[in-house]
Symmetry: C2
Subunit: 345 residues, 2 copies
């Protein structure tokens, strides 16, 4: 398997290395060969070649079997003419990664570390399907002396394809989709609600569909997170809501994501960002990145057993208390990764 690794900025390189170690171990055990090729993205690419997504990186990603991304961004590039994040948005668009999957399971061992009460978060098991290649992220922008604007656009087709992905996931899960919009204000949200309602009626009538407004959803996700199974939403709302719930399981450092397109390679990255304050200090939690690698095995390579093996090892290590500082532990990135590798063995 030909895997492109984009370490990126901040803690990105450290966690990207952790994922490679774990995958190499899986390869040894199950007899697969994972070839890793590193390429530049984000601030690292700006520093090296002056652009956040070099052509060469883009071409390598598109030609790969899957992409692992660490993180991009940091205050270092705050005033820069090119922003690291542009590279991330550009690679999502170039690879056509319209569905961003962000699963959240609250581990019983870590529920006590949640800011929410144990009885509210225990047993949470949901997945956010965030539309990733449209909306206000990719609309036209204007700027004058006295004003600025951003355009949010959605087409029927863009809504249909991510809705189908969410309904299909719900079929394999508890059979419920909660679609989130702001239909009492936004025209794109009214279209969103219509299209999701139609796809449901025509293609997935056996799934339970409910609609929620983004403001009340932001509230309900804290009050009763266990009520949700699959959450389907547009790009910006998905960004906000998935970050909101990222702390429910005790640390954002635990959470993986998968970004998938129609066909072609997927991109796998932890939810946490570049965390420049702890970069280069062997402090980052490798679990989010390692679980992203497991999602890669499952979604891109159909290697179910191998993915299960990583997830079981992570669960065992978390239960044993061999964790990084964000979870109150004493391990560094390297030793926490070693604990996972040992558990797989």
């Amino acid at each position: 398997f030909n895997i492109v690794v984009l370490p990126g900025d901040g803690v990105g390189p450290e966690v990207a290395l952790a994922a490679q170690r774990v995958l190499t171990c899986i390869g040894d055990i199950y007899g697969h060969r994972f070839d890793f090729t590193e390429h530049l993205i984000g601030g690292a690419a700006i520093d090296a070649v002056g652009e956040s997504l070099p052509e060469e990186t883009k071409a390598a990603c598109i030609a790969s079997d899957a992409v692992l991304l660490g993180a991009v961004g940091g205050p270092k590039w705050d005033g820069a003419p090119v922003r690291p994040e542009q590279g991330l948005l550009a690679i999502r668009k170039a690879m056509g990664l319209y569905a961003n999957l962000r699963p959240l399971q609250v581990s019983p061992v870590l529920a006590h570390r949640s800011p929410l009460k144990k009885e509210i978060v225990e047993g949470v098991d949901l997945i956010v399907f965030r539309e990733l290649t449209s909306g206000v992220y990719f609309g036209e922008r204007t700027r004058t002396e006295t004003s600025a604007s951003d355009l949010c656009v959605y087409t029927v087709e863009e809504i249909e394809r991510v809705a189908r992905a969410a309904f299909q996931a719900a079929e394999q899960r508890r059979g419920k989709v909660t679609s989130v919009d702001k239909a009492n204000v936004m025209e794109t949200s009214r279209l969103w609600r219509e299209v999701v309602t139609r796809i449901h009626a025509e293609e997935y009538p056996q799934i339970t569909l409910e609609h929620a407004l983004v403001d009340s959803m932001a509230m309900h996700l804290i009050r009763k997170p266990r009520d949700y199974d699959v959450i389907l939403t547009e790009n910006m709302f998905g960004d906000i809501l998935s970050d909101e719930i990222s702390v429910l399981g005790g640390s954002i450092g635990l959470l993986p994501s998968a970004s998938l397109g129609a066909n072609g390679p997927g991109l796998f990255e932890p939810i946490h960002g570049s965390a420049p304050d702890i970069a280069g200090q062997d402090l980052a939690n490798p679990v989010g990145m390692v679980l992203s690698a497991a999602m890669m095995l499952r979604h891109s390579f159909q290697l179910e057993d191998e993915a299960d093996s990583i997830e079981a090892a992570v669960a065992a290590v978390l239960a044993s208390g061999a964790v990084t500082a964000d979870l109150g532990g004493a391990l560094g990135t390297v030793s926490a990764t070693r604990a996972i590798v040992d558990a797989i063995r």
Copy 2:
């Protein structure tokens, strides 16, 4: 004082009545005369006269000393050609109410009812300044067979005036403003950040200003809500974040808001919506509306003692356990209101 009351839909009329009872009691004690005139808005206006904000309501609001609003909206008008919410947006715009103030104090008596752990929410005391008359709420919308769009626009002047309001509030509080945007993606956010930074440097250098991205803010508000004093943000982000934190104090039914313009009357409404499921059953918590009336006394009429008296009465009643069902109590709207009136007396 000439007060326009807009009861609106759902539980709106019940809580609007509660506020009038409390104000009448305050008037008796302190020797003020509050004249209340009811007008139609929202679904109630659509049912009666076919539009969500009749001209006559608009004119009465503009000519008043202050406006009390219950709530608008409900599933009854879901398919309707005119939406109740349009009336709310139109009156905010017509009255020029650019600053929406949403204070949140977690009462020690109720901290245990929060979905968050007591040690995280205890002592929270913050206020959101949400821009209320611009952004995606009021931009151009388009709709074709195959797509839809919403335009988010901000002018320098729109940002300046709400920023000044937030900095002024911070001067009277703990001296810190957290400005929330999505400057790594949106052009309006980059303008927002520039203007807020400039107003701070030129006019309020003694205030501590920090910038946060809306996604990480959605997370931090759950992890460490006590860190915040004044939160300043644009219309849509303010809608989402203020609803998110509305449950921190135990019930959204407790929370008031004030919407203020440059001069002219303000509008005061609880954060909770029309709650159609419990409407007309004497179940709604009157506290959010009653505290909104206290904000009216303070912000529109400079009646500090009278506002304090309402707030002290509410605190006493909450401490005594004389509360509605949303707080686990046995009182109805009417008897909970009576308890507040008795406490004032």
